[in-house]
Amino acid sequence: MEEKKKVRQLNPLKFRAAIFDNMLSEDVGYSNYSYWRSTLRTFFKNKAVLALVVLIVLIILMGFIYPIVSSEDPNKASLLPLTWNQRPSWEHWFGTDTLGRDIWTRAWYGVRNSFLLAFCIALSDVGIGMIVGAIWGYNKKLDPIMIEIYNVITNVPSTVYLVLLAYIMNTSYLTLFISMASRGWIVEARFFRNRILSIRDSEYNVASRCLGTPMRRIATKNIIPQIISLIIMEAALCIPYSIGNEVFLGFVGVGLPVEAITLGNIVNQGRASFTLHPYQMLLPTIILCIITVAFYVIGNKFADASDPRNHI
């Protein structure tokens, strides 16, 4: 360690007390930060995600707008065999099916119905699951009962469970909803219970209790902001799951009645004539896959983006 050579001439006048700026030393090293802004920025930074969000919004909007503006009847079967099984054309963009019904029209009705069903299921799964999970997390006494309910429901493989329930009840939108929703809530409840348990015992929550914060405000200020991103993620992931189950139940033969226009039914009907007329299945399947994949990706990417460690 040698004394360095002074390169420049130093000014002796500079060797006196400088003015001490108190604020300079207290300066916070960070910029203005907001959790949600950072989450959204991180989320949309990925251009593929942005594209998927736009695409999915367009598809869903189309599903809701098309049935209103179009005069085409999706169930209008044709008696003329000539109009059956037509390939895609200007007149019928996705072609017609074995009964001469316009697949383009049916597809949008299907998007609307399937999405609504899946959305309701997601809403009820996550909604009920969150409320039950919160109660469960706050009451240790519920543990034995809830765990037993969880075991009973989840120990039956999901497909077997759905088939069984759909089989017992006559199939309709409502019963399909009931059979799926009756299973999903407990899975979500357990998920939220674990999260809430860790938040419940966190130090800032204890601090709030010491300050006498009422339960209501603890829920709205301490708990919900922490789990809202999980709620969104779980709801998004519920949608592909519900749509997949609908397709599955249709396949097993306990799905919705044939008159119901859902993506599941369209795909299952198209499957029967796939070897001869592949487009009847392919085109609606593509829409269905875009929806499920988009929600899956959005759910997962959102979970990543909502983790503060990934924030810029």
Partner: protein
């Protein structure tokens, strides 16, 4: 350890009993017409149907039926099939079908573990590079797209490209290939996903850094520390994988006309064979409960940390 096993056994037994009662009672809730397929309903009159039901003992109080079922169960009698194979004892049917399903399930489980772990390792090895992207894409496809859709395309297209049989023939070994692969697809995604996640988690732990500081080469650390530790929590997922495979077998066995229990359940549902449905569902439930139980024991066996704490 003994106390722990005993406690878990009792717990599992309780779960099985509850599942059993719930399933049994649910099936009794079905309208009586549910015992007859549409054609039979049309052809017969009310009186014959009632006398048939009375003969079968289906009009007795559900609890009486439950008691009878339990009593017969201990004599190795599970009742008789109603419609699929009329009056054939279900035990005979199952004795024929279970080995097939078990063989398929077992081989795809092994395949799933091997390929899944390999894919997971590939993803970690080439993290954030091509291997990771490949794996992520695969996992996304399998988890987001409804399984029925890709299974169907595999059956139609892949079989054609590779000249593999589209359905299962008992005497043709090559007809095993596609169903086994299909059955293991979701397991592969499952294992790859979790192995990657656990290994990435373990990689950042202090003990890994310490192992490297000790002067062990990276390869050694990956093998002896990271991989070994990441595998342990994966064991917990083995039973869920079993559930997955059971769930998948429902679809795959009927797609490939495999004479197993999954296909049988689908057929039984389509022809509304109540007795058969009930037994198969129960069988699946018991298998899952036992699977979860074995999984817990396995974890306790491989993880030294669990042995000391007797509480589950």
């Amino acid at each position: 350890m003994g106390k722990y096993i005993l406690k878990r056994t009792v717990n599992s037994l309780i779960t099985v009993i509850i599942v059993f009662i719930v399933v049994f009672m649910l099936l009794r809730l079905m309208p009586l017409s549910g015992y007859f397929p549409q054609e039979v309903l049309k052809e017969t009159d009310e009186a014959t149907r009632m006398s048939y039901l009375r003969n079968q003992g289906l009009l007795d109080h559900p609890l009486v039926q439950l008691w009878r079922f339990v009593k017969n169960l201990f004599h190795g009698d599970l009742g008789r099939s109603l419609t699929v194979y009329p009056q054939v004892p279900i035990t005979t049917l199952l004795a024929e079908k279970i080995p097939v399903t078990a063989a398929f399930g077992f081989s795809s489980m092994v395949l799933g573990i091997i390929l899944g772990l390999s894919l997971g390792l590939l993803m970690v090895r080439f993290k954030d590079k091509w291997g990771d992207r490949l794996g992520t894409g695969y996992i996304l496809a399998v988890r987001a797209i409804p399984n029925l859709i890709y299974l169907f395309f595999i059956q139609v297209w892949i079989s054609k490209w590779f000249g593999l049989p589209m359905v299962f023939y008992e005497d043709q070994p090559s007809s095993w290939i596609l169903p086994v692969i299909c059955l293991s697809l979701s397991s592969i995604a499952w294992y790859a996903l979790w192995l990657r996640r656990f290994m990435v988690d373990e990689e950042n732990r202090d003990y890994v850094k310490f192992a490297l500081v000790k002067g062990l080469p990276k390869k050694e650390v990956w093998k002896k520390h990271i991989f070994k530790n990441a595998i342990i929590p994966l064991v917990v997922y083995l039973p869920s994988d079993l559930l997955n495979i059971i769930a998948g077998s429902l679809v795959i066995e009927s797609l490939y006309a495999i004479p197993g229990t999954g296909g049988l359940l689908t057929t039984a549902i389509k022809s509304q064979d109540n007795n058969l449905v009930q037994v198969i569902v129960l069988m699946y439930a018991v298998t899952s409960v036992v699977g979860v139980f074995l999984g817990d024991l396995l974890v306790a066996a491989v993880d030294p940390r669990i042995k000391l704490t007797e509480e589950g």
